[in-house]
């Protein structure tokens, strides 16, 4: 999940994105909130070259669930 880790690392500089696993909850990332979640979506769009990703983050979403959402868009994570 290199793209996801890179995006998270870029948006949340205090997070050791390389330590994230598929089971890691995004809500446990330092500085995570609903506004920064939008920043993460924008960063994923910038890194993947895709626009208007309709990603919905539930309160307990994991990195693995995010990976699956992106794969559904055909994005190489």
């Amino acid at each position: 999940m290199k793209l996801v880790q890179q995006a998270i690392g870029n948006v949340f500089p205090d997070c050791d994105a390389s330590a994230l696993t598929l089971e890691s909850k995004l809500s446990e990332i330092p500085d995570w909130d609903s506004m920064n979640a939008i920043n993460l979506i924008m960063e994923i769009e910038a890194l993947s070259g895709r626009q208007n990703l309709a990603l919905q983050f539930g309160p307990d979403i994991t990195a693995g669930e995010l990976v699956e959402m992106l794969r559904a868009y055909g994005i190489n994570v």
Binding site: D31, D33, S34, M35, I38, N39, I41, M42
Partner: protein
């Protein structure tokens, strides 16, 4: 001796930026702005306007309403965290633009608490006999220091300025300041910051372009604001032996409607007594409380009298504080 408020003023730039105008963000995210912040639109300064220009507009309106000439000012205290430049103080530029040739000029940077800090300091100087008339101005152009690509900060803020002219009076005939409190906790310095541009990290040593822009830890700031904001209201009540029920107006820093609602709920005060304008102007940092106070004093259909008003703010530093204003 008291500091009576001879007049107030405010200035909001002409350009209105609605949430839908923030097209750099995904359209699906735009509704989140109003629900998470309460902000529907904000003002941005014109390209040729800087902080001192906004300050001067508010100051001139205030002076015109008071009938006092700028040359009769003993001091100008300007609260800002978005100065024209790191030096000289923006208040010096304001002093020159106003022609306030007898006034000292000093900037106060307590970020969003700056307006309250400036009022408390001006009041202290007047009560100590150091000055008879001090113009307190708070002005911000946050549109120039925001990362316009950062959804966690950009939508919150707007530009604006407020002003209040204080004059020494043994027996006030105008609304007057009757106490206040100031606090700080520097261990929270990382929660609200612009990392670069000073001696710690000069612009020439940037390692990340984002270091030059405003940054905020939203969750931590929310908890800080609702806790300290409610505490200050209780503290001001104790300081002046005021029962909360006697408070007629609460002017809190216009940070976020959810912060105001939470403070109202925690203090048991009806939200209707809280002045709210952040829906139109966003968070104007140090200027927010002075703008709101000016609007309360000049735009209400019923004259505000026989009331007690608290001005309460919380912001970077971390800093927080409040002022009691009695309205005879």
């Amino acid at each position: 001796m008291f500091s009576q408020i001879l007049a107030t003023g405010s200035y909001l730039p002409e350009k209105v930026v609605k949430n839908a105008d923030l097209t750099q963000f995904p359209p699906a995210a735009i509704p989140l702005i109003a629900s998470k912040t309460g902000v529907y639109e904000r003002r941005y300064a014109a390209p040729d306007q800087c902080t001192s220009d906004l300050a001067v507009e508010a100051a001139r309106q205030c002076l015109a309403r008071s009938g006092i000439a700028a040359t009769d000012l003993d001091g100008i205290i300007l609260a800002t965290s978005s100065p024209d430049q790191p030096m000289p103080a923006t208040s010096a530029t304001v002093q020159a633009k106003l022609g306030a040739t007898s006034a000292f000029a000093v900037d106060v940077n307590a970020v969003c608490t700056g307006g309250v800090y400036a009022l408390r300091m001006a009041d202290a100087m007047i009560r100590a006999g150091c000055a008879k008339r001090i113009l307190v101005v708070a002005a911000e152009v946050y549109s120039r220091i925001l990362n316009q690509s950062d959804f966690s900060t950009c939508p919150y803020f707007g530009d604006g300025a407020g002003a209040m002219l204080l004059e020494a009076a043994e027996q006030p005939t105008h609304p007057f300041i009757n106490g206040g409190v100031l606090h700080a906790d520097g261990t929270g310095e990382d929660f609200i910051k612009i990392p670069a541009g000073g001696s710690r990290l000069p612009f020439s040593k940037l390692t990340d372009n984002r270091q030059q822009f405003f940054q905020m830890n939203g969750k931590a700031v929310f908890e800080f604001a609702v806790t300290r904001g409610a505490e200050v209201i209780e503290e001001l009540c104790r300081q002046n032996s005021i029962a909360k029920e006697r408070l007629t107006h609460l002017i809190l820093h216009q940070a976020n409607i959810n912060i105001l609602a939470t403070i109202a709920q925690r203090t048991g005060l009806p939200l209707e007594r809280f002045i709210v304008n952040l829906n139109h102007y966003g968070n104007t940092a140090a200027a927010s409380t002075l703008i709101a106070f000016d609007e309360m004093m000049t735009q209400t259909t019923n004259k505000v009298e026989n009331g007690i008003c608290f001005i309460v703010a919380f912001g970077g530093g971390l800093s927080w504080g409040g002022i009691t204003i009695e309205m005879p």
